[in-house]
């Protein structure tokens, strides 16, 4: 590989190091997938057991807002993929610009999500921490269960977003023009963070579909 590649002392060459990093990240995302699979598996079972109650509860969520949020998140997926392209094309400063766009989109997603949660809170649809659950439809108990899943799923997803945003901000700072910026290392970091970010998108697609769209 090119000169100036930074190879840790236990690797033979840059190729081995790059592939090991990628493989590690894929395996990590596999575990993340199975983590969410546990939660979704439970949801699927209950969706089967209490179909009507869950569909009715789903209609209490704000579909237009969530759809807009999905568009924002998918767009942030695009901007992050573009950041990766720029990094690979040897333009770290352009990559940083796209990373900044991604951070802005991701933060807006969280802001909208926060607004939505607040809305549910004020409607009495947040059965957490002993708050009253003032659900106006039939099957209030099962609707409670639905909202338990709602907050567990969206909350866990938001936590992953926060971790992703922190990583992106870090990348943005690491990539500022300075002596000692190691281009090959930076490419690896951008690529791995990009994979994580896209994965968080994938999870959202399923959160969105399960909670908001299964309404009939």
């Amino acid at each position: 590989m090119s000169d100036g590649a930074t190879i840790a002392s236990h690797f033979e060459d840059a190729e081995q190091q790059r592939e090991a990093g990628l493989m590690g990240m894929w395996l990590f995302l596999a575990t993340e997938l199975l983590l969410f699979a546990g939660l979704f598996g439970g949801f699927a079972i209950y969706r089967g057991l209490h179909g009507d109650a869950f569909a009715a509860a789903a209609r209490h969520l704000d579909l237009p807002l969530a759809t807009a949020n999905t568009v924002i998140l998918l767009t942030s997926g695009l901007s992050m993929a573009l950041a990766e392209r720029m990094a690979h094309a040897g333009a770290p400063q352009l990559a940083r610009r796209w990373i900044a766009v991604t951070v802005a989109l991701g933060a807006s997603f969280l802001a909208i999500k926060g607004y939505e949660w607040h809305h549910e809170y004020s409607e009495g649809l947040m059965p957490l921490l002993g708050l009253a659950f003032e659900y106006d439809g039939p099957d209030a108990a099962q609707a409670h269960l639905f909202f338990d899943f709602y907050f567990a799923m969206t909350g866990l997803h938001a936590l992953h977003m926060l971790i992703g945003l922190a990583a992106l901000v870090l990348l943005w700072m690491l990539g500022r023009p300075r002596a000692g910026l190691q281009p090959d290392r930076y490419i690896r970091q951008v690529q791995i963070t990009g994979m994580y970010w896209a994965f968080v998108d994938v999870v959202w697609v399923f959160v969105f579909t399960s909670l908001y769209l299964l309404r009939s």
Partner: protein
């Protein structure tokens, strides 16, 4: 435009189109059909994201085996878990 960039833009456009379809299907309220279609469309969106935004399409074969394996394990959980509930 660079072909790689074009693929990314096309993927994004496709994602938004599928999203629109999925929301429409949900609003049409076709009962069980909606559920099946919505899940199918969600898989499609997930697939597009993984293939092009996570670069699985251009990844090494071994990585693709790993991704497939992870999917298989989720599938295992989703097939074996309902066995109990469907026969109770």
């Amino acid at each position: 435009m660079n072909p790689a960039t074009r693929t990314l833009l096309l993927t994004w456009a496709a994602l938004l189109a599928v999203l629109a379809m999925s929301v429409a299907v949900a609003l049409l309220a076709l009962g069980p059909w909606s559920i099946a279609l919505n899940l199918g469309l969600a898989l499609l969106m997930g697939g597009l994201l993984v293939a092009n935004f996570m670069d699985l399409l251009s990844a090494k074969p071994l990585i693709r085996v790993f991704a497939l394996g992870a999917l298989l394990w989720v599938f295992l959980l989703f097939v074996m878990l309902p066995v109990d509930y469907l026969t109770r």
